[in-house]
Assembly symmetry: C2
Homo-oligomer: 196 residues x 2
DNA sequence: TAATATAGCTAATGAACATTAGCTAAAGAG
DNA sequence: CTCTTTAGCTAATGTTCATTAGCTATATTA
């Protein structure tokens, strides 16, 4: 990893923990293992680092939600649906980079229109689009009753997004939150399936 | 309003707009109409102001969700349910004080365990508890089918919480968001009612 | 090999910031 | 009426911060 990349990584780590205004360039430099003035050989200034992080967040968004490749095989049964959905959630919750980007966006969402926009894409549009596809596919297979797939996707994912955010700020509640999430997904499946 | 109260109000306004670290005591003093050193006649320092705001947020939480008085009369029909729910949402979205507390908490939720805790109460527990009561009441009246009222409350309120957060950062989408919310509530009512 | 570019360093700069010291005028209490 | 408290002020302090200037060694290029 180049110094330039390491700066970005350490800056994101600090921004996600203490926010942009709560992080000094000295802190970033120290984690990288250089002195603050050396940062300016790679970036114009603190704001330039911020913009590079935002660019990276856009790229990561495209990777996660840009294509339909990440949807994977459509679940064929209740157990498969639960397992596949819980797997995706667990990955999103625990992947260090996604976690940092999520915490960073939450805190900095009001800093600019662009950040507001990206936050909405990460928190609402992306996940919704992904699950709209999945639910639509399962409706076509007769696994879910016919209904508005976009609406169902929101109803499935919104509680999960809120619970993940809770786990980010209260990690000691994670076990409890995971139980709530699974209970919710099971309930969702039961409600939108003909089989009682 | 006393100077002490005005300091709190203006500090909250600035914290909700620019965050705690993004706000200087000079800025607060200027909005109050005094010089920064005069603030110290009322509060020990910037952090003391922060703590007073957190205390106020706790009080406001109790006012909003502490008692069952705010639930009001139980809706008797679909239209009444939609109207009463949309009314509560519109109030929460537009009340200036609640809005500021909400934006403040979103940005500062990682600053301390106490702030994390209050954020969860405002964003999840409070609203969930309120709607659990309402949905439970409507189940007992036969307006909703029997199901886990806590789970249903989460499924009703979580998308709304996310959309309100979106409206906070992208106010130009408010109309669109309001439409989504109403569509969601109508759908929720239809799904959990026997009447097709 | 000679010239140049790169990436680090120390030292310095100037601005912003939270806070303190100490003064003053007005309000309230005895 | 006098004393004391209150709440404002200006000036100053010390710290932190982002950034720049200028030096040096190493790596790259011609």
């Amino acid at each position: 990893m180049t110094t330039k990349e390491k700066i970005l990584e350490e800056a994101l780590t600090l921004f996600s923990k203490n926010g942009y205004d709560g992080t000094s360039v000295d802190q970033i430099a120290e984690r990288v293992g250089i002195k603050a003035p050396s940062l300016y050989k790679h970036y114009k200034g603190k704001e330039d680092i911020l913009n590079a992080i935002i660019d990276a967040a856009e790229v990561r968004y495209e990777e996660l939600f840009g294509s339909d490749r990440n949807i994977g095989k459509l679940p064929e049964s209740k157990d498969e649906f639960i397992r596949s959905t819980m797997g995706k959630i667990s990955f999103t919750m625990h992947d260090p980079m996604i976690r940092k980007i999520r915490k960073f966006l939450i805190q900095e969402q009001f800093r600019s229109e662009r950040l507001a926009d990206i936050t909405t894409r990460h928190q609402l549009d992306g996940i919704q689009r992904m699950y709209t596809k999945i639910i639509e596919g399962m409706m076509n297979k007769g696994l879910f009753i016919k209904d508005d797939p976009k609406l169902l996707a929101t109803e499935l994912t919104a509680p999960v997004v809120l619970w993940i955010a809770q786990a980010d700020r209260q990690p000691h509640c994670e076990k409890e939150i995971m139980d709530s999430i699974e209970k919710h997904i099971r309930h969702f499946y039961d409600v939108y399936t003909n089989i009682q």
